[in-house]
Assembly symmetry: C2
Homo-oligomer: 419 residues x 2
């Protein structure tokens, strides 16, 4: 894409009320627009990142047998009363709104009820199970404070998968698969090395739930990490019993600030019971379905990547979720240089390499370099009179200090072999 | 996909309060789930159709220079007060909800304000224009009645593009391109032959807006159609002046019921003025940006296709938006037949043909045929002991009466050359 056709521009400053690093950088670089505290629109560059994260998650969910659908945002009182979660005194995260012809509806803050209610129509026999449906959708939570940029939204884009299994054994087998799938997602998104499976409070149906916590200084959670095994314990269940139960040694655990980028937990029959979600087994006996819940906030993941990897010049995107792979900069207004830059752009595009081509006129090299650093695209290619003298393109990775001049042919090989 | 892995099942009946044909068929076939009047969840088959429609629209929008982004659902009072559309007495379609820490937010019912407000930050010079941003998102409208299934939702999935042009001439040029893009969308979605560009009421800035009206008996609009030219007039502007102005002859116009599947209109400076959206031209003079609006409801389009093309046995999907291209039916429980059906399934899948494979056991041929008719997938392939005797697969198109036995090799060629 030609940058001259991209309507967003970089800014020197973010809104004064924006105190989070992720939103500050993303707003300045033109990835998002702040509508109000905790509510952001995704501009073209931001949507590209979000879509890449979505595709990684989709691939991993499909791999374990997930099947995609899309539940509605509007939720009815009748459905949520079954599980006793309609009342604002019980769930205080609700946004509710009034129908013109009477009655109130809620805005999804999670999906257990919607899925249980839908599945109730389709599940009756052991042959109907297991089922692993999921969706991506906007979720709404009435947060009192919302100061963490896209890491804690009042409105946010969320993946939720629910597992419906015949028994504990089948449930546990899938739950283990999801642990791996989640680890794959964070690895593929570029924060695997900072993300730890963390034991957190369970519920009536399992001793622990599992969070995936990414260690960053602005994390809202406190975890205790065993760096050898990569296992962590959330503060909420950090006690001698847990430490011993997990075979860890207290003295080796390090306290860290971290952000929860995903969580998975066993629901047991918490929802299948109120929704009367049962199946007949081979002996025609009725059993309650065993459920599990597996969530990831895509904005939170995107914000965490920014927080974790950015430097003082701007964002650093991992290749897997970068809006483009290559940021091609044309320097100066010499006609031959312009022609060569056009040629490089077309060649890369023909080779299916995603390029943002900074073809803007009237900007100094310094301005273009600063913009490239702020935007954080992994490979910076520069075409200038100097690079042409050296018969190539100057290549520099965003996280490297120095570039080198390489021929276009070599570049194509290089990109083919990169992640 | 194996139908045994698809958790939805067909039903004999839709909910008793569902009076629209589109929702009745889509619910019975397991494409959607009714949450409440005007609110539907999209089950796996339904989401596949929605995604295909989305991709057709995206391709056409990108072709005319559109750039995708995604605005937030939550809208702030301050922004909408600028255009004087916050007050419920002025816009009665609003859903509003309260923030826990005070204040009210609205749920998007359209996007003019959000886009104007965002673009205001980025547009200052003639070099910044034109811009054609668009998004797909859920839109909410507080409809009093909602009895048309997915054709009129309280919550619905919507594409909106806004054009930002320097002057009337540039605006008109783009507007003409969008007419063609819209016609392409409806053609590609399989209802081009029933869809007519219709002159409807304009506003302060243009005499007419343009609707794309699909002729179906349950349409909520009345249009007057000139069948020779394919031009129609909406009842709201149907008068001697309009007829004469368009060069039509009153006696030749036929009254039809139709549903508006898309609309485009010129906004002039209706929004650029309150948002102070101006640019400096080549002479450093300030001018207001000229805007246009271009919307399509994806659920409405999907519902219209069902209404327009279904027969008394069920849905008939056009190939372009069908959830799968082929519905492969395995009949009987003979091991050789099963083996052959598996082979056909794998061969089609390997050739990148989307197949729903009805591998379910314990269903009669009649039940499988009835389900296939209800689901409406374009090609029905049957593997049975009879088709094997004839050394092939029995093929029938959903809209044909009789099938014929064809070899697998010929089928692959046939599918390659179909739409």
């Amino acid at each position: 894409m030609r940058q001259s056709k991209l309507f967003t521009k970089t800014k020197k400053e973010a809104p004064t009320d924006e105190i989070s690093k992720n939103a500050e950088l993303l707003i300045r670089a033109g990835f998002i627009h702040k509508e109000m505290a905790g509510v952001y629109s995704y501009l073209p560059l931001g949507l590209r990142v979000l879509n890449k994260i979505e595709n990684i998650i989709r691939e991993e969910m499909n791999m374990v047998g997930g099947i995609e659908m899309r539940t509605a945002v509007f939720q009815s009182k009748e459905v949520w009363e079954k599980s006793n979660r309609w009342d604002d005194d019980i769930v205080d995260a609700w946004f509710k709104t009034k129908l013109k012809n009477g009655g109130e509806v809620g805005l999804s803050f999670t999906n257990e009820e919607a899925y249980s209610n839908i599945l109730k129509q389709y599940v009756s026999s052991y042959k109907d199970l297991p089922i692993y449906p999921y969706d991506f959708k906007n979720i709404f939570r009435n947060e009192v404070r919302s100061k963490s940029g896209i890491m804690r939204g009042r409105e946010f884009y969320w993946k939720a998968l629910y597992s419906f299994s015949r028994n504990e054994e089948e449930h546990n087998e899938f739950y283990e698969k999801m642990k791996v799938a989640y680890q794959n997602i964070f690895k593929r998104s570029g924060i695997g090395h900072l993300t730890y499976m963390t034991f957190a409070s369970g519920g009536s149906f399992s001793k622990y739930s599992h969070e995936f916590q990414t260690v960053i200084s602005v994390g809202e959670d406190t975890i205790y990490l065993d760096e050898d095994s990569g296992i962590a314990i959330n503060k909420e269940v950090y006690n001698d019993e847990t430490i011993k139960g997990l075979g860890l040694i207290k003295e080796k655990l390090v306290e860290k600030r971290a952000v929860e980028v995903g969580n998975i937990f066993s629901l047991g029959t918490r929802f299948s019971e109120p929704f009367d979600l049962k199946y007949k087994d081979e002996k025609s006996q009725e059993n309650l379905v065993i459920m599990g819940s597996y969530g990831i906030g895509l904005g939170r993941l995107m914000g965490t990547v920014v927080e974790a990897l950015a430097d003082d010049k701007g964002i650093i995107w991992p290749e897997s979720i970068a809006p483009f792979k290559v940021h091609l900069l044309l320097l100066g207004d010499d006609e031959d240089v312009k022609k060569e830059a056009d040629h490089v752009y077309e060649t890369l595009t023909k080779n299916n390499i995603e390029v943002l081509f900074d073809d803007r006129v009237g900007l100094s090299p310094g301005e273009k370099f600063a913009d490239a650093d702020l935007l954080g695209i992994p490979y910076r290619f520069v075409v200038s009179s100097r690079s042409m003298k050296d018969n190539g393109v100057e290549v520099k990775k965003r996280n490297e200090e120095k570039g080198k001049v390489v021929s276009l042919e070599e570049l194509l090989v290089l990109l083919k072999h990169s992640a």
